[in-house]
Structure formats: C-alpha cells, structure tokens
Symmetry: C2
Subunit: 357 residues, 2 copies
C-alpha cells in the first residue's frame, strides 16, 4: 500500500461519460483535480474536470502524455484495450487493477472466475462456432441468450434464442466474435450490491438495491431491496469474496438474481454502477466518493444508509419530465450535461427520498 494521495493531486480518468462526471465531482469534494481521457468530443465529465485529453485509446503517445501528468489512474468503464493498459500501467498505478479488468472484459472468463469462487451463476457454455452453439444448446436448452464474450452493455451484442432453430441467425449476429451461451435463471427479482475495497484491504458495502430494467436498460433502483436477513448477509459475503479474490481497489457493482436456491451472480462491473446512484441521496459518502477514496488510498466510508431512496433513470424523452421532477420537494435531480437527447440514452437520474431517517 502506498501513501494516501494528498489533496491537490491529479486523478486521471479514462472515459468522460456521466460516471466520469460524477466521479470528477466527488474527487473535487476531496480537493483532487481531475484529468479526463476520452475519445469523444465535449464529454460530460469535461464540464467539471480541470483538464481533458481528447484522443483515442489507440493513441499511445496521447495516453503516455496523459499518464505523465496524473498521479493515479482510474476509469469509468471496463473496455480499455490491452495495449492502452500496458502503456498506462508502466507509468502510473491503475485502480481497479488488471486482474479485475481481465475478468470483467470477458463474459466467459468472468463466469469461470465466479464459479471458481464457489458462487452460483446462470448456466453457460462457450460458443466459437456452429458446432459449439449446437453443443451449448444441447447442454443448456432454450430459451437462452447468445452474447459476445467482450464489449457488450445495455443489451447490445446479445441475441435471444427461443428455440434451437434460432441458432444460425443468432450466430450470424455475433459476426464471428467469440461468444457465450447463457441459460435463463428463474428469479423473483434482481438486486445489486455496490461494494468497495480500499488499498488496506478493508471492504465496505452499501445496502443492496432492487433493480427494475426496461428494454434491457436499468429503469429504477429501490433501497431497501426485498431481501431476507440471510440474503443480505449472503450478498455482503459474496461481494467480499469477489473483491478479495481480485485484490480489488475501488467500487464494484455486483448484480444478483434472487432465486429460491439462493443468490446467483448475474454480472460484475469493475467501476461505479448505475444501480448505486441512489447513494448520492441516501449516504453521507456516496459510491463516487467511495471509489475516489479507494483509488486515492483514503479510508472508505462505511456505507451506512440514512434514508430510503428510489433512483429513476431519465432516458431519452424522460427529459420532458424534468420540470415536474424539479418541482417535487423530495427529489434530487442529476442531469448529465449531454447536448443531444436520444432514445435509449441515459440523460440523468432522479433520486426520490422516501423516508428520511
């Protein structure tokens, strides 16, 4: 463990979307300055960061110059190319580290890692070609989902198979990319645990939130989630097991299916997570500050919740509801500064405080 980063230090952030934006503001609260690295022009995080480098993740010179002017590097998304990581890691510490990225960048590696820890996952099988898909379907059955192993999010790169006859079309949709077939799990609801691990190995968890998706995108997260005491304990224990196994530093989102047979890990994200946005309104130290604290080698907040909260994503035309939400006395609005409203695009979120205290 290195010395805690002193206020005034510069945190380098890969990715300039809304997560990077809220991380930048959390970093500023602790007196840190932020430098955003982002390929796209006018990133939302750039509006609240001290510096922005606009360059692609394949621009190794730009990455090198970026690393040289920051004190530590973190990221808001997990799909950072390996060559970029090689350049950055040679110059500055990156948190969370390579192992967490390797695991979460590949759905197959992730599932195998989770199974290796003794945790439950949906049934899965690798699919590299038609023969592999046939074998996978024989083992798992339908309905099932064929997903690219890498680079999928919010329902992209996924095809649902309702019968074995869908195989050819589904495989064609993968465009030759290595894939994984996942079976369906009968679950009553989905929850997620936002967990953090500090450089000293301390683990802190926020209360699990209950997630509702619409069109493959998170719509709402509600705390407290419907869970028994034993399920809450299990959720914390399994999150701790994952973080410790990865020697993880930072915040992780762990999505869980609640089933009669226990909690099943859906997926993990090595970063702050949409389902943790409620912590901005429900906790003294939110997930964004928690992540910055971990990355900076500071002590973690303990995750205590002081209110019930419903977080609602504002997607596309939900922006029309901003005047109404702004007038509600129990709603904290968070808008992301995106210039263009598009269908399916996350434009902001609203945290409704349900029962203070």
């Amino acid at each position: 463990m290195t010395e805690p980063l002193a206020p005034g230090a510069v945190i380098g952030m890969l990715g300039g979307g809304q997560l990077g934006r809220m991380l930048s503001m959390a970093a500023a609260r602790l007196g840190f300055r932020c430098h955003i690295f982002e390929p796209g022009a006018a990133p939302p995080a750039g509006q609240v960061a001290e510096a922005v480098t606009t360059a692609g993740y394949d621009d190794l010179d730009a990455l090198r110059r970026f690393a040289e002017v920051v004190d530590v590097i973190t990221y808001e998304f997990e799909n950072i190319p390996t060559a970029a990581l090689d350049v950055l890691e040679a110059l500055r510490p990156i948190h969370p580290g390579r192992r967490a990225l390797a695991v979460s960048q590949d759905r197959l590696t992730e599932k195998e890692f989770l199974r290796g820890l003794g945790l439950q996952t949906a049934p899965f099988a690798p699919v590299d070609d038609a023969a592999g898909l046939e074998a996978a379907l024989a083992a798992i059955g339908t309905p099932a989902i064929l997903k690219t192993r890498r680079l999928g999010y919010d329902g992209k790169g996924q095809t649902r198979l309702t019968a074995p006859g869908d195989a050819a079309e589904a495989l064609a949709a993968m465009a030759g990319a290595p894939a994984i077939l996942e079976g369906f799990v009968e679950f009553s609801h989905e929850v997620s645990v936002i967990a953090a691990r500090g450089q000293d190995g301390a683990v802190a968890c926020f209360d699990p939130g209950e997630n509702v998706h619409r069109d493959g995108i998170l719509a709402t997260t509600t705390v407290p989630a419907r869970l028994s005491h034993a399920q809450r304990t299990d959720a914390v224990l399994l999150a701790g097991r994952i973080l410790n196994a990865l020697d993880y530093v930072g915040v992780m989102g762990v999505e869980l299916f609640v089933t009669r047979g226990g909690l099943i890990v859906n997926e993990i994200a090595p970063r702050v997570h949409n389902s943790g946005h409620w912590t901005q309104t429900g906790c003294v130290i939110d997930q964004f500050e928690q992540h910055i604290r971990a990355v900076a080698g500071w002590p973690l907040g303990d995750g205590q919740r002081h209110a019930d909260v419903v977080m609602e994503n504002l997607i596309g035309s939900d922006m029309d509801r901003v005047p109404e939400l702004a007038a509600a006395r129990d709603v904290a609005l968070h808008l992301y500064g995106k210039a263009e409203t598009r269908a399916g695009r996350k434009m902001g979120h609203a945290n409704r405080i349900m029962r203070p205290g």
Copy 2:
C-alpha cells in the same frame, strides 16, 4: 419572470473561490455549464467549471466578452464594482439584482434599509471624519466597532474601540474611507437563516443554524439552532420581508443575534453563505443548488432538513486533521482545491451528521 433556463445553458459566475466552486458543482448536477470570471490565477472553481476567464473587474472588454457567452450571471461575492455591473447588466440578467448589491455593499445603506423595514439592528451612526466619530461615540458609547462602509469581510477593515480615547487611532485605520460606528449588542448567541427567493416570488428558508466564530471567522454552524418556536417563526418572517423588499432572486445569508428583546439583524449577504454549508449533508437540495435554481428560474426546493448537522470550517492548519476527518464514518468532507494552505484561509469544511432522520 422569464422562461426557466434549459439544461445545457451556461451560467456565468463572478468569482472563483470556494463558493463559486460549490455553485459550479450544483449547476452541473442540474445539467448547466459554468463559466467563471475571476481576476486571480487558478481559481478553485475553475477546477470544476467548463470555462474560466482570467481578468480583472476593471477589464470591461473581458466582462463584455464573458457576458456574451453566458445565459445568465450570478456571483459568489458582493463587492462587484459598479462599472462592471453596468456592462454586464446591459447584456444579460444578473441575479441577485442591483438593489441587493447596493444595499449589501455598504454597511450604512444596509442598516438603514433594515431599519426601514422595521427590523432591529445594532445601534449605528455614519462616520466620515473626526467630528462625526465624536458625535457617533456620544450617541452609541463604547465599546463599539468602527468599520469601513464598503469592502470588509471576515473581520477585515474593522477596529474595536474600548474607550473614547481610541478614536484617533481607529479613524486612522480607516485610511479616509467612509465608515460606520456600530454599537455592541448583548446577545446570547448568533444564528443565521439561509433564505431563497425564486423568480416567481416564492420564498423558502432552511432551518436556522447556530454560528460560533473564532478570531472573527466562522468556526462552526450547528443545526438545529437553539431557538424557541416563536423565534423560528420570527426568523423566517424577517428573512421573507428582506427578500421581498429587494425583489430578490437567489440565496441570501441573514445573520441574526438572539437577544432577550428579540432577533437583531447583524448583516445580510446576497449570496450563498458559509453558515449554509451544512445543507449539503442535511437537505435533499442544498443552498448551492437552491441558488442555481433561483437564478435559472427553476422551482425552489422547500428547504426541508433530514438530519442534524455540525459544520466545521477547516482553516489553515486544520488541514492537518484531514486524515482523521476522512476516517470518521459520519463526516462528509469538502475541500476547496486551494494550492496553498495559509493561516486564516478557509481550506474546506467538514459536515458531521449527528442524527440522521
């Protein structure tokens, strides 16, 4: 009243200190972009704003260019020169408006304005010269404080007179500036009301906080303050009277002395106020967002408090306590990103949540 400002609009901010910094972050939460105008290099607010103009308030061309690229103008301090206001006001709306600035830039005008509303103030008299000071001392007695009418804050530009014999020295300290002699008030404690008024004339008040000063600088603010129900009502009523009389738009800090004879107005500040920092931890919508909402023509938050909070300023070497404060589970830290720690300089604050709910 104009149309509410749409997310994406640019808020121009005069002053780039910690208040401007926290206002910038609040504006960003609502999807606004911020442009800071500040004479000093590397302002704390610049770290979290989209744009910074570095120029003096006497640089009328720079002010004009600044005004032309923003949608509305506000400020973090009240001592904006008249010529600067003339240039800005001709181009864009400024909130709070000229009348509030005229009143609060001059201690004598302010006291006369408050008295005109039927509110209690400390005894006062204008002092322009030795004869004036003699007359003022005859009326008010000692101890008393001689203050410049303009441009004082945090105890600067003030001299205490313990006996009439101090008159010559005190007057010399004013260096010829118009002054005001203020008598002392016997008070049990000081409280402040952070009040807001929207463009629609709606008024909202946060719960009064109780202030403790050290060396003339605010040390702590505690909510709830020690006040009777009637005193709380009085505090809200008098704040409303002040805001309405000024046709005010924005947040104002109203400092009050609690005395046996009722509440006495110490001073008003036409901006967010140090004694309102606790709202970041105790309210869904804090004073910074409240101010931005008013300036942008949005509905105000209602000011409801959901926790007891003690706000402590971190001044100068208090920064040595950051590691300890960072490790406390009930403390939200806010550091201002100032490069240099100096004695008497506000470096940050810590909001300790005492009793959630």
